[in-house]
C-alpha cells in the first residue's frame, strides 16, 4: 500500500496557521499542567527520599507516626543505643543520635505570616549521620551552647535567620552561626542545634526520636524484630528513608490524584479542540481526498494521513507544553506538609519518566481527537468526494 507523504499532512498544518496555533496551544496548556503536577510530585518525593540515608534507622514511639508526636524515655533510648547491629564510629562512639524535634512558629519574610518550622536538637553523632548536609556559610553549632544553624530554605524565607541574628524560642535566645545545604532534602527546611540544650529549654525529659546507623543494612529485620518485641519498649523501628517517604504520602497522593484528575478533565477540552479542527480540515478538503483516492491511494492511506496530521498537532502542543514545564524547574515551592505539620520546601523536578509519560499523554490526545475525523475522511466515496468540489 502506498502511503501519502508526510509532507502532505505537515504542510496542511502550516497552511492554516491560526487554527493550528490555537489547537496546539490548547494541548500545550494541558501538557503543561500534566507535566507540572508530575514534576511537583517527583520533587516532593525526591526531597523526602533524600532526607533518609539507606543504612540509617529511625526509632519513634509506637503509633506516633511523626517525629513531633513521638517521645522516647532516656532508658528506652539507652536500650536502643546498645544494640549490637549499630555501627561504631571512628572515635569508638556508637553512631547514634538521640534527638529532640519540635515545631516553632516563625513569620515568613515575604508575607509576615507565621509558619511552623522544624527545630531539631541533635545528639553527638547527629551531623555525622547525615553526610549529605554541608555547611555553606559560617560554621557548625558548638555543643553545649545556644548556637544554631539553619537550612538553606529557612535562611531564604524566614526573618531573623541570617548569620549573627538571633531567634527567640523556648524562653531563650539562639544565635545563628551557620547556614547548611541539605542537598534538596527535607533538612533544608529545618533549624539544627544541640539536643541537650533544647531539652532543657523546652523542659523535656524524653527524646523525640533516635536515629542510628547500621553496621550492616541487611541486619535491619533482625534488629526491628528484636526491638519491637522487647516488652520494655513501646517503639516503632523503621528505615530512615522509608519513614520520610511515609511522611510525604498524604501530600504526594493529594497532588497526584488532584493533578491527574484535572489533566484528564482538561484533556477532554483539548481533544474536542483537535476534533473540531480535524473535522473542519476533512470538510475543507473533501475534493482533495477524492482526488487522492482517484490517484490510487487506499482508504487506509487517507486514514493514516489524517491521523498523522492530528498527532503532529498534538506533538507540537507537547513540545511547547513541556518546554514551558521545564521553566518550572527554576521554581521552588514551600508549603506545609500535613503529616509533619511543618514547612517543607521542594522544587519541580523533571525526570525522563515524566518526559515519556507526557509524550504518551499528548499522543493519546492527538489520536483520540483525530480518529473520528480521519475515519470520516477514509469512508468518503470517490464519486461523492469529487462531486463536492
Amino acid at each position: 500500500m502506498k502511503a501519502i507523504p508526510l509532507a502532505y499532512s505537515v504542510r496542511n498544518l502550516w497552511t492554516r496557521r491560526l487554527t493550528t496555533a490555537l489547537t496546539a496551544g490548547g494541548m500545550a496548556l494541558v501538557v503543561f499542567v500534566f507535566a507540572a503536577v508530575l514534576m511537583l510530585d517527583a520533587g516532593l518525593r525526591a526531597a523526602l527520599v533524600a532526607t533518609g540515608q539507606p543504612d540509617n534507622i529511625l526509632v519513634t514511639r509506637r503509633a506516633s507516626g511523626t517525629e513531633i508526636q513521638s517521645g522516647i524515655e532516656r532508658n528506652q533510648a539507652a536500650i536502643v543505643e546498645t544494640q549490637p547491629e549499630i555501627a561504631v564510629g571512628p572515635g569508638g562512639a556508637r553512631m547514634v543520635s538521640k534527638e529532640t524535634v519540635v515545631l516553632i512558629a516563625q513569620p515568613k519574610r515575604d508575607t509576615g505570616v507565621a509558619t511552623n518550622i522544624t527545630v531539631r536538637g541533635l545528639g553527638e553523632e547527629g551531623p555525622a549521620l547525615r553526610p549529605q548536609v554541608r555547611i555553606t556559610a559560617g560554621r557548625m553549632f558548638r555543643r553545649g551552647t545556644t548556637e544554631i544553624v539553619v537550612g538553606a530554605s529557612i535562611a531564604e524565607r524566614f526573618d531573623g535567620t541570617g548569620i549573627g541574628e538571633r531567634l527567640r524560642f523556648g524562653g531563650r535566645e539562639w544565635t545563628v552561626v551557620g547556614v547548611f545545604d541539605g542537598a534538596g532534602s527535607g533538612f533544608d527546611s529545618e533549624v539544627w542545634g544541640d539536643g541537650e540544650q533544647m531539652m532543657q529549654s523546652f523542659r523535656r525529659n524524653a527524646f523525640s526520636t533516635v536515629v542510628a546507623r547500621l553496621a550492616d543494612p541487611a541486619s535491619f529485620d533482625a534488629l526491628k524484630a528484636r526491638l519491637e518485641s522487647d516488652p520494655r519498649l513501646t517503639l516503632d523501628v523503621k528505615r530512615e528513608r522509608r519513614f520520610y517517604e511515609e511522611q510525604s504520602e498524604v501530600l504526594s497522593n493529594f497532588i497526584r490524584i488532584l493533578g491527574i484528575t484535572l489533566s484528564v478533565i482538561f484533556s477532554v477540552g483539548a481533544m474536542i479542540g483537535a476534533m473540531i479542527t480535524m473535522y473542519a480540515s476533512v470538510a475543507n478538503r473533501t475534493a482533495e481526498i477524492g482526488a487522492l483516492r482517484a490517484l490510487g491511494f487506499r482508504r487506509g492511506a487517507i486514514l493514516v494521513a489524517f491521523l498523522v496530521e492530528a498527532v503532529s498537532l498534538a506533538l507540537l502542543g507537547w513540545a511547547v507544553g513541556l518546554a514551558a514545564a521545564m521553566l518550572m524547574t527554576l521554581v521552588r515551592i514551600s508549603t506545609m506538609n500535613w503529616q509533619s505539620f511543618a514547612e517543607l520546601a521542594f522544587s519541580f523536578t523533571l525526570t525522563p519518566d515524566i518526559v515519556a509519560q507526557s509524550f504518551a499523554f499528548a499522543l493519546a490526545m492527538g489520536l483520540a481527537g483525530g480518529v473520528l475525523p480521519a475515519l470520516r475522511a477514509a469512508r468518503l466515496k470517490i464519486v461523492d468526494a469529487l462531486r463536492a468540489a
Binding site: L22, L40, A105, I265, G269, I272, M275
Partner: protein, 385 residues
C-alpha cells in the same frame, strides 16, 4: 429579532462543530466551578469563625501546650465571658485514611460558645453524664454510619493507647457552612487517663477558646490575655478565631495558589478551542459577509453577527456547565467525606463562571470579528471556503 434569529440559525449550521464546542465549554466551566469550590472549602474554617471568639495557644507553636491553671487566669481578664479548654486528639479511626478532627473539650462552656453546633438538650445531657461519651457531627455520622450508643474506637497518636468513646449526641450545623465532621469528648476523661499513665504530661491544654463580650475589643482583650503570661514558661499568643484559622490556610497557601492558577488555565484552554471554532466559522463565511455588505449592511453589523454567535455558544455552554456543577460537586463532596467538611458551590463561584464564559465568548470573536468587518466586498466574494 431578525438579528437574533440569524445568529441562532448561523450557530446551528455546523451542528457537530457547535455541539463539540458547547461540550468543551461545559467541561471547562464545570472544572472551573469545582476548583473554585475546592478553594472555598479550604477557607471554610475561617468563613465560619465567629468575631467574638478568640483562640489562645502557646506562643512557640501549636504543638506546645499550656498549663491548665491558665484557664482561671484568662477567665479573670476584663472583657472575657467564657473560657473552654480544647485539645487536638489526633486519633486514628481504623485507618489513617479515615481522617476526621477530634477534640477533647470542656463540654459545658464549649457548646455554649458554639451556638452553631445544634445539639438537642436530651442528648447533650446524656453526653454530659457519660464521661466516656462523645458528640459527633451529622456529616461524620452519615459518612461512617455512626448511631447514638455506638462505640468509636480510636488509636491514639498524641495520647498513646486505644481509646473508645460512646456516641451520646449528634449535632447539626446551624448553616450549610458549619463544619459537622468533628468529634468532641470530655477533656477531663482524657486528662485523667493521661495522669494515670504519664503524670508529667497531665494538666496540659492545647488551646483555650475564649468568648468575649464585645467583638470590637478583641485586639485589646487578646493583648491583655497575653500580658498575663509574659516571661512565664509557656508564653501565649491570642488571636481571633478567624486569624487562627487563616493561619492554617496560609501554611498551605502554595497549594491554594496552584489550584487557583490551574482553574484559570482551563479557561485559557477553552478560549483557544472557542477562538478556533469562531476563526474557522468566519473564514468559511467570508463570502456571505461580503454579500451582506454588498446588500448595504455595515461592518459593525457583520462583526456583531460573529460576536453574537460566539457569545450565544458561550452562554449555552456556561448554562449547562453551571447546571452540572451542583450535582457533580455534591457527588464529589460526598466522596471526599470528612476531608472537606464543607463543600458548597457559592454564589461567587457561579458569578465567576458566568463572567469567564462571557470573556471567552467575546475574546474568541475578537480576531474573526475584525476580519469579518474588514473584508472587502470584492475579496470576500472571490474567496472560496
Amino acid at each position: 429579532m431578525q438579528f437574533l434569529k440569524l445568529v441562532l440559525r448561523n450557530s446551528l449550521r455546523h451542528k457537530l462543530r457547535t455541539g463539540l464546542t458547547v461540550l468543551g465549554l461545559v467541561v471547562a466551566i464545570l472544572a472551573f466551578g469545582l476548583l473554585q469550590t475546592v478553594v472555598d472549602a479550604w477557607y471554610a474554617g475561617a468563613e465560619s469563625a465567629a468575631p467574638n471568639r478568640l483562640v489562645t495557644r502557646n506562643a512557640i507553636s501549636l504543638t506546645f501546650s499550656m498549663p491548665l491553671h491558665y484557664r482561671d487566669k484568662i477567665r479573670g481578664v476584663d472583657g472575657v465571658r467564657t473560657v473552654g479548654a480544647a485539645n487536638w486528639f489526633g486519633g486514628i479511626y481504623q485507618d489513617p485514611k479515615n481522617f476526621f478532627p477530634q477534640f477533647a473539650i470542656d463540654p459545658a462552656p464549649y457548646f455554649a460558645m458554639y451556638p452553631e453546633y445544634r445539639v438537642n438538650d436530651g442528648e447533650l445531657h446524656a453526653f454530659l453524664r457519660d464521661r466516656k461519651g462523645a458528640v459527633i457531627g451529622r456529616k461524620l455520622a452519615t459518612t461512617y454510619g455512626f448511631k447514638l450508643g455506638d462505640t468509636i474506637p480510636l488509636q491514639g497518636t498524641i495520647y498513646p493507647g486505644t481509646w473508645s468513646f460512646t456516641v451520646r449526641a449528634i449535632y447539626d450545623g446551624a448553616e450549610a457552612k458549619t463544619d459537622t465532621s468533628q468529634m468532641f469528648f470530655h477533656w477531663d476523661y482524657v486528662n485523667e487517663t493521661v495522669k494515670a499513665k504519664t503524670p508529667r504530661r497531665a494538666d496540659q491544654v492545647g488551646v483555650f477558646v475564649v468568648q468575649i463580650d464585645d467583638p470590637a475589643r478583641s485586639a485589646e482583650v487578646s493583648r491583655a490575655i497575653d500580658r498575663q503570661f509574659v516571661n512565664s514558661l509557656a508564653e501565649t499568643l491570642t488571636e481571633t478565631e478567624k486569624a487562627f484559622q487563616l493561619g492554617f490556610v496560609a501554611m498551605t497557601e502554595a497549594i491554594v495558589v496552584a489550584i487557583r492558577i490551574v482553574s484559570f488555565v482551563v479557561i485559557f484552554i477553552i478560549l483557544a478551542v472557542m477562538a478556533n471554532t469562531m476563526a474557522m466559522t468566519a473564514r468559511e463565511r467570508l463570502a456571505e459577509y461580503a454579500t451582506l455588505k454588498a446588500l448595504g449592511f455595515g461592518p459593525g453589523y457583520v462583526a456583531r453577527l460573529v460576536f453574537g454567535e460566539s457569545v450565544a455558544i458561550a452562554i449555552i455552554g456556561a448554562a449547562l456547565g453551571i447546571a452540572a456543577t451542583f450535582p457533580v460537586s455534591a457527588a464529589f463532596g460526598a466522596k471526599m467525606g470528612t476531608l472537606f467538611p464543607v463543600f458548597e458551590v457559592s454564589g461567587a463561584t457561579v458569578a465567576l463562571q458566568i463572567g469567564c464564559a462571557l470573556v471567552v465568548g467575546v475574546a474568541a470573536a475578537l480576531l474573526p470579528g475584525r476580519r469579518a468587518a474588514r473584508v472587502k466586498i470584492v475579496d470576500g466574494l472571490r474567496a472560496i471556503g
